[in-house]
């Protein structure tokens, strides 16, 4: 006999304990719970430990930048999504935490699910969300001295890394905006005669 709970029942249980949690739905009717950042550790513990819920595994933890997403109402937050799964009851849940992009801070859940240690390092590296209370919050994919967080929608590809140019002579990024510290734009006469060829 299945002990799996539907989303509504799970949401009900969580909301009764934490009224600040809201049930939401994405544009294509995928349900998720919006958790305020401050409540996240408590909610996570509840979800893992409540006997009817028992979300023992954190299947995935990721995030995306909402800056260019045509949401209503528009938002510039970083969405951090937690995909939980219960091996005991075989049910699912999606949590989301919205972190403001300028001071993106979310409490770490690596004490609740051990695997979050790695996932949070990845989200920190690529999206720049600082997980407070993380034991070892360092970049995991990019080098430690990398500047910027590549998966943010306003990320500008650096022209050089530690003095090593990323592009050879004649190569260029299409419509790469100038960055602070770049040489001043060349006068119009020096501009290339041919329009830049769009690369595949």
């Amino acid at each position: 006999m299945s002990t799996a709970l539907a989303f509504a029942a799970i949401a009900e249980q969580v909301k009764s304990a934490h009224p600040s949690v809201e049930a939401r739905e994405s544009d294509n009717r995928q349900p998720w719970l919006l958790v305020p950042a401050a409540d996240l550790p408590a909610v996570a513990r509840l979800l893992r430990d409540a006997p009817a819920l028992r979300f023992d595994s954190l299947a995935d933890l990721t995030g995306w930048d909402l800056a260019k997403f045509p949401a209503t109402p528009p938002s510039t937050d970083i969405a951090v999504a937690y995909y939980l799964h219960s091996l005991a009851h075989r049910h699912h849940l999606t949590l989301k935490v919205m972190a403001p992009r300028d001071a993106a801070q979310v409490p770490s859940v690596s004490g609740v699910w051990a695997v979050a240690n790695y996932f949070e390092r990845e989200v920190y590296d690529l999206l720049g969300v600082a997980f407070t209370g993380h034991p070892n919050l360092k970049r995991i994919m990019c080098p430690d001295d990398w500047i910027g967080h590549p998966l943010r929608k306003d990320y500008v590809y650096p022209q050089a890394y530690n003095g090593i140019a990323h592009l050879r002579d004649g190569q260029h990024f299409e419509d790469a905006p100038p960055r602070v510290g770049d040489p001043p734009p060349a006068p119009a006469a020096a501009a290339p005669a041919k329009p830049p060829v769009k690369s595949a």
Binding site: S26, D27, N28, Q30, D56, D60, L87, R90
Partner: protein, 397 residues
């Protein structure tokens, strides 16, 4: 059992040792910063990112179907499964809106099962072969690779590629089976089963091999779940969970998927969830995959002229839908040879994805390394890495 000395009893000076990024046993460019006292490892910290190619960022810059070749590069040892995971995810996204729904033809679904399971076989062959090579037995590796060659030959006839196939497409598969493919696959499976018995006699039943793996780095079921282990690594710890059976995608719900789990196969010295269990679970899965391919071959409908035919076709037409997919997000989990390959796809309704997230098995497997690599022998590091069957591009993406 691996050692009577615990880290706490170690004294004196520790030696720092860099295993990798270029080391024969790290399966690519993985770096382990190891602290040892003589032969005993006090601490090993993995260092990732040498192979980071920002594939998820690329996903935001290319159109929906153009990302499929990049999935090949996420896990090139089982590229068919990597293709499949992404395509299933995009199809699920399209199906969230009736206006853009897509019906994958049954023949295409069968072909997907056939190639995915064949690729699982060849991927597991690399895994068990490489692990036995890490433990110093070179011959089984080559015997496994010889079988993988045959699979690659079949795939080459199928789609012209031997490693990165780009074969599964959104809405079906890129080509129909070539003439005589069924006979070829059946002939391969028949020969392969006999070969595997030889292989297992050579290495799996070998006492030295068993004693090397027995009881090493045993992971309890609770730890395996908490550290996000997936696939054979999770099942090796005795957790009965297989996405193909428990959350079926494609037509796996019409096939009888049996799930082998670790039971302490090594016997006297073995423990549930040790390196030997993970190794044997892979070998048992190979046998299951052989059976699934046979079943899928039986279900395969006859081909028809029209390629979008709901039964005998091989590719639904999705070009129109992909220009304007529904806005929103989906998450799909699929069972790749290295465990769950999950996609989170966010669409803003345009012809390029807004965000493509690929969750891979090797990445989470690395999260438990630091816990396991304490108080074991130097030589066991190699056994542990081999038993997790990590593929470095999958970690770093």
């Amino acid at each position: 059992m691996s050692t009577d000395v615990t880290v706490e009893t170690l004294g004196g000076e520790r030696m720092k040792l860099n295993m990798g990024p270029h080391h024969p046993a790290t399966h690519g460019v993985l770096r382990l910063m190891v602290e040892t006292d003589g032969e005993i490892v006090a601490k090993a910290v993995p260092d990732h990112g040498f192979l980071h190619r920002s594939i998820e960022k690329i996903g935001e810059c290319v159109e929906w179907p153009m990302f499929v070749p990049y999935t090949d590069r996420i896990d090139y040892v089982c590229a068919m499964n990597a293709n499949l995971a992404y395509c299933v995810a995009v199809e699920k996204l399209l199906n969230t809106d009736p206006a853009t729904a897509v019906q994958v033809p049954l023949r295409a679904e069968c072909i997907r099962i056939i190639v995915a399971e064949l690729n699982r076989i060849s991927s597991h062959l690399v895994a068990v072969g490489a692990m036995s090579m890490d433990l110093g037995a070179y011959t089984p590796f080559l015997h496994g690779i010889a079988q993988r060659e045959t699979v690659n030959d079949i795939f080459e006839k199928l789609c012209g590629q031997r490693l990165t196939y780009n074969f599964v497409t959104i809405g079906g598969v890129a080509f129909d089976l070539h003439k005589g493919a069924e006979a070829e696959i059946t002939a391969f499976l028949d020969a392969f089963e006999k070969e595997m018995i030889r292989f297992n006699k050579l290495i799996t039943a070998n006492t030295i091999f068993r004693d090397r793996c027995a009881g090493v780095a045993a992971i309890s079921a609770a730890d395996a779940v908490a550290y996000g282990l997936v696939g054979p690594n999770l099942r090796g710890s005795g957790v009965d969970w297989d996405i193909r059976r428990d959350e079926p995608y494609g037509i796996y719900d019409r096939l009888a998927v049996r799930v082998p789990v670790g039971q302490g196969f090594a016997g006297r010295n073995g423990r549930v969830g040790d390196c030997y269990d993970r190794f044997v679970v892979r070998l048992l899965e190979i046998n299951e995959s052989v059976r699934l391919v046979r079943e899928a071959l039986k279900m395969l409908p006859a081909p028809v002229e029209k390629k979008t035919d709901a039964t005998g076709g091989y590719q639904a037409d999705v070009a129109k839908q992909l220009r304007k997919p529904p806005k929103g997000e989906v998450r799909v989990r699929t069972e790749a040879p290295r465990g769950e390959m999950g996609y989170v796809i966010v669409s803003d309704g345009s012809k390029t994805p807004y965000r493509v997230r690929c969750r891979t098995g090797s990445f989470t497997a690395c999260s438990i390394f630091q816990k396991l690599m304490r108080g074991i022998f130097m030589a066991d590091i190699v056994t542990v890495i081999g038993s997790f069957d990590i593929v470095v591009p999958e970690i770093d993406r």
